[in-house]
Amino acid sequence: MTDTENGRAVGQGPDPDWEAVQAGPEFQELRRRLRVFVFPMTAFFLAWYLLYVLVADYAHDFMATPLVGNINVGIVFGLLQFVSTFVITGLYVRYAGSRLDPLADKIRGDIEGEEGK
């Protein structure tokens, strides 16, 4: 069994120069790609959720407007929150798989390869 309990996976050789990696262009690009996706997306879904909560809280009549049979705006609006959650999840998985993972893997490979020497 491998001993990873004491975090030795990294600490075997001299520590990599983390500040140099952090300042490097590849890491800066990875950081930018992550933030450029997750920050606006978080702002969007929080605002969208807050809008729903506020409408549910203060606009009962609007939510009670019937659409099809007994299905009203409130139920559709609520179900749309489910849909948006599923869609954002899917978008993130795609984005992370194509734009984040390859770059992260490459940087990690460089760091861990360096230590192996």
């Binding site: 069994m1 491998t2 990873t4 309990e5 004491n6 975090g7 996976a9 990294v10 600490g11 520590d15 990599p16 983390w18 500040e19 990696v21 952090q22 890491f27 990875l30 950081r31 992550l34 933030r35 996706f37 997750v38 997306m41 879904f45 929080l46 959720y49 807050l50 729903y52 909560v53 506020l54 549910a56 809280d57 009962h60 939510m63 009670a64 099809v68 049979g69 007994n70 299905i71 009203n72 409130g74 139920i75 609520g78 179900l79 929150q81 489910f82 959650t85 599923f86 954002i88 999840t89 993130y92 998985v93 992370a96 993972d101 992260a104 893997d105 940087i107 990690r108 760091i111 861990e112």
Partner: protein, 541 residues
């Protein structure tokens, strides 16, 4: 009158022997699995993180098992049956919250920490004070949540096993506690995870079967279910279909709902037992996959509860639910009885018990890990490392688990008749106020430091608890915990609206007032959190 007549039949149909046997079978099967899993539990990484050997889908199931508590099953179905739309609002907050975990927390935490939230925070800060603070807030959240679960257990025994005597109920609560301690002691995280996976499977399958059944009765016309729920006598009529029946009474209750909504969406990603689940998978990619699975399963489950809630309103009726023992919590079991008779009721009752068991086990292992890993090893033993101390840490974690389990049993017995529903809201509010700001600042803000973290954790914790103590949840109203006294000056039972922004502010203020900044460790943490370099790997047995 016809309602009461029907109710009497409902109570007679509860067959304790049948319910016990189904639940007993669940306990027996899971115990066998836990014993088998325990053979591989040797190191701290095994005990706390199941050797990081679970796959994404498995962990996603376990997250659903950890997250879908008895409160969210019985409580939400009942709330929709009686109050209609307002019950649905809960489930949306509980689900959307997972996006915070997916986008901001899960992968970065998995890459940075070993076992606990304290690991992440302590990475670039002064170890001892920060670990102590992280442990205090972890223990507080776990304890509030645990107490709520165990107190709910008493009512469930009454409802599902037909045990009315005080002593009988206490014996059942104690038995549940003992079984839970056995899971945690013997199986560690691996055993606990399997219990949660099995429970999630049963719960979701049971809810799915009932949902299809309800819809089939109406020719798969959801609108028809709604029409019948509205038409039921003694209910809220048309008001069931739109928000406001519960929270729309006055301006304070509306504000209270807004506050709850914010705490739900921001609290989930700060719940310690949820965070700990991310350490049981081998890589950050698996952590992502597990959140995707969790979102799918939890989302699906909450869609089922929407149908089940209105279905219970339509097929059982609000009067009968409100008058049954267990009140609002009896909606799902009574619906099961109406659909599939005593056998389905027994199955749903057993699943509800399994739910309490699994959630309590998850909380206990989290709290014990936090105490042993953060307080015992890092604060008391001052971080000595080596195999000896790792072994003694696991021993301390096991002892802590027994103590916490015993406290949960006692709490469950004493809080049985109390209205402790506010404890779940409190746990979410503390998680959103004390934990989430600190985690987000640590992961994303370069300048953040020890003083900022201490201010946001302790500040968030103290503000939240103070506001709750002086809120109508504790005194001054008919549904308060302490009746007949009134020292409430804070109008909202849910403090999130005030406590969350305040905790973010305190974290910022504490940081800028301190000069401390460890650029080297910050660089290491950021690189490791984004790339997974040097992250804890799976143990290969």
């Amino acid at each position: 009158m016809s309602g009461t007549l029907h109710l009497a039949q409902g109570l007679d149909a509860i067959n304790p022997v049948l319910n016990f046997s189904i639940f007993g079978a669940f306990v027996l099967i899971t115990l066998v699995i836990v014993f088998r899993a325990s053979r591989n539990t040797k190191t701290a990484a095994d005990y706390y993180a199941a050797g990081r050997s679970f796959s994404g889908p498995q962990n996603g199931m376990a997250i659903a098992g950890d997250y879908l508590s008895a409160a969210s099953f019985l409580g939400i179905v009942g709330a929709i049956a009686l109050n209609g739309y307002d019950g649905f609002l809960y489930s949306i907050g509980f689900l959307v919250a997972w996006l915070v975990a997916l986008l901001l927390v899960a992968e970065l935490m998995r890459n940075t920490a070993k076992f606990t939230m304290g690991d992440v925070l302590a990475f670039r800060m002064r170890q001892r004070p920060i670990r102590a603070a992280a442990a205090v807030s972890t223990l507080a959240v776990s304890f509030f949540y645990l107490l709520a679960q165990m107190a709910g257990g008493g009512a469930l025994v009454n409802l599902l096993l037909g045990i009315r005597s005080e002593v009988g109920q206490n014996v059942i609560i104690a038995t549940v506690g003992v079984v839970m301690i056995i899971y945690v002691l013997i199986g560690g995280m691996r055993g606990t995870t399997w219990v949660q996976i099995i429970k999630a499977g049963l719960l979701i399958a049971g809810a799915a079967a009932m949902t299809v059944w309800v819809l089939a009765l109406y020719g798969f016309d959801f609108s028809g279910v709604l029409a019948d729920a509205v038409a039921q006598e003694g209910g809220k009529g048309e008001a069931l279909l739109s928000p406001g029946a519960q929270y729309g009474i006055n301006e304070v209750s509306k504000l209270n709902f807004l506050s709850l909504g914010i705490a739900l969406v921001l609290g989930t990603a700060g719940l310690p037992h949820v965070l700990m689940r991310f350490y049981t998978v081998p890589t950050a990619k698996d952590a992502r996959r597990s959140v995707v699975w969790a979102i799918s399963l939890i989302g699906l489950f909450y869609l089922f509860t929407l149908v089940l809630g209105y279905g219970a309103g339509a097929l059982v009726g609000p009067e009968e639910i409100a008058n049954a023992p267990g009140g609002v919590n009896s909606a799902a079991p009574l619906l099961a009885l109406a659909l599939g008779g005593p056998v389905l009721l027994g199955f749903i009752a057993a699943v509800a018990f399994a739910t309490i068991l699994a959630v309590v086990a998850g909380l206990t292992i989290t709290a014990s890990a936090s105490f042993a890993h953060d307080v015992y090893t890092s604060v008391i033993k001052k971080g000595q490392s080596g195999d000896d101390s790792a072994r003694s840490e696991v021993r301390v974690a096991r002892i802590t688990a027994v103590v916490i389990g015993a406290a949960a049993v006692l709490g469950g017995i004493f809080a049985k008749e109390q209205n402790v529903a506010f404890l779940v809201a409190l746990a979410f509010a503390v998680a959103a106020s004390a934990n989430l700001p600190t985690i987000l600042y640590t992961l994303f803000w370069k300048r953040f430091n020890t003083q900022g973290a201490l201010w946001s954790i302790y500040g968030g914790l103290v503000v939240t608890i103070t506001l709750i103590v002086f809120s109508p949840a504790v005194s001054g109203s008919e549904t308060s915990m302490i009746k007949g006294m009134d020292f409430a000056w804070f109008p909202l039972s849910n403090p999130g609206l005030v406590s969350i922004p305040l905790a973010f502010f305190l974290g910022w203020l504490g940081t800028v007032l301190s000069k401390e900044h460890n650029a080297k460790k910050q660089a290491e943490m950021e690189v490791r959190s984004l790339t997974g370099a040097g992250a804890e790997k799976a143990a290969s047995h």
